[in-house]
Symmetry: C2
Subunit: 202 residues, 2 copies
């Protein structure tokens, strides 16, 4: 399974190009230039643009799923799960801010693909763990009664949206780039506290 040097360079270059330009906007020419190799070689290794894209998507999607599971599995108490999820997740996206947009575009473009991958990858259990934890907390009387899916997607929204909607947010709020950076830093802890304040019983 050892990939050649060239193959790796192509995948890396393709990842950058697809993330920046999307599937339709990406150019094979641009990918070969980024990789510093011949355009024809891409077809030698990956046959077509579509197959190359699939490869890139698989890798990125796997990383995303892995992070979701990791962030959710580490802590026991619901509040700590939430704190852990927010800080790990926002931090991870901050390092690769264009990945969510890429993943979401592709899931919109081709929803069937995700079912295929669902079967291929190890099963996605982050939300199951989360739901159980919410049920437990409700039972213990720690939090108000709330639908776990609503809660989970609220959390996901506040973690992901700022990166997808960054230009919109900067436009609406008038934040500078510098201000946006510290705005994100604040969110690594404050989004979790925002959520916890909302659900905990006093």
């Amino acid at each position: 399974m050892g990939k050649s040097e060239t193959e790796n360079k192509i995948i890396q270059a393709a990842t950058d190009e697809f993330i920046e330009m999307g599937l339709d906007g990406a150019r094979m020419r641009a990918i070969s230039d980024r990789a510093g190799i011949n355009k024809g070689l891409i077809h030698y290794y990956f046959k077509s643009k579509e197959l190359l894209f699939s490869k890139v998507f698989e890798v990125l999607f796997g990383v995303l799923v892995g992070r979701l599971n990791a962030a959710m599995g580490e802590e026991n108490h619901l509040f700590d799960k939430i704190r852990s999820f927010v800080s790990i997740y926002v931090d991870a996206i901050q390092r690769n801010p264009r990945i969510p947009k890429f993943i979401i575009s592709e899931l919109n473009r081709n929803p069937e693909r995700m079912f295929k991958m669902m079967n291929e990858k190890k099963k996605f259990d982050a939300t199951k763990v989360f739901k159980e934890s919410v049920a437990q907390a409700v039972e213990n009387g720690d939090i108000v009664e709330i639908d776990a899916h609503q809660l989970f997607t609220n959390m996901l929204s506040m973690c992901i949206f700022p990166f997808i909607g960054r230009p919109m947010i900067q436009f609406v709020t008038g934040m500078s780039n510098k201000e946006f950076e510290s705005y994100i830093e604040v969110r690594k802890t404050e989004v979790a506290e925002f959520i916890i304040r909302s659900i905990q019983k006093k």
Copy 2:
């Protein structure tokens, strides 16, 4: 300024096509078919694909800004502003669920354009109104101290993200299409209550 029948048909068809396919994915051929007119006519009226796209974007962006301002200006008390914003906004997006994705894609692709439009459209004061209302509520001791931008973007995130990330959310939670519909209905009121619970002083 009276637009011809044909011109209007083109704009409507182009709006549908661009929203569904994105700028790169859209085809002039598909637009002329949707409009039921000759392909060459599009160039007669709009010169190029790029200019046609600009036209479509301007219209949609104007609608978005108008809604933001309307939703924010109607109520006086902060909590009612939040309730009003969430219900109006989620409902509006529900009717046209692909608009946010379209707007955000374009703002990412071409951030300069938004500054141009900022000057052309009447100024965007929804957030100013919101900030003042937050400051007032803090002063009155009604809510905890919170940065208005953080609060505003939390609200925006929870309103918009479910539509952008719908396939991702359905994948992660396992919701059916039917379940997703009622999930959105719940959000029209519950997102506002979620926010209010978090910020109000007991």
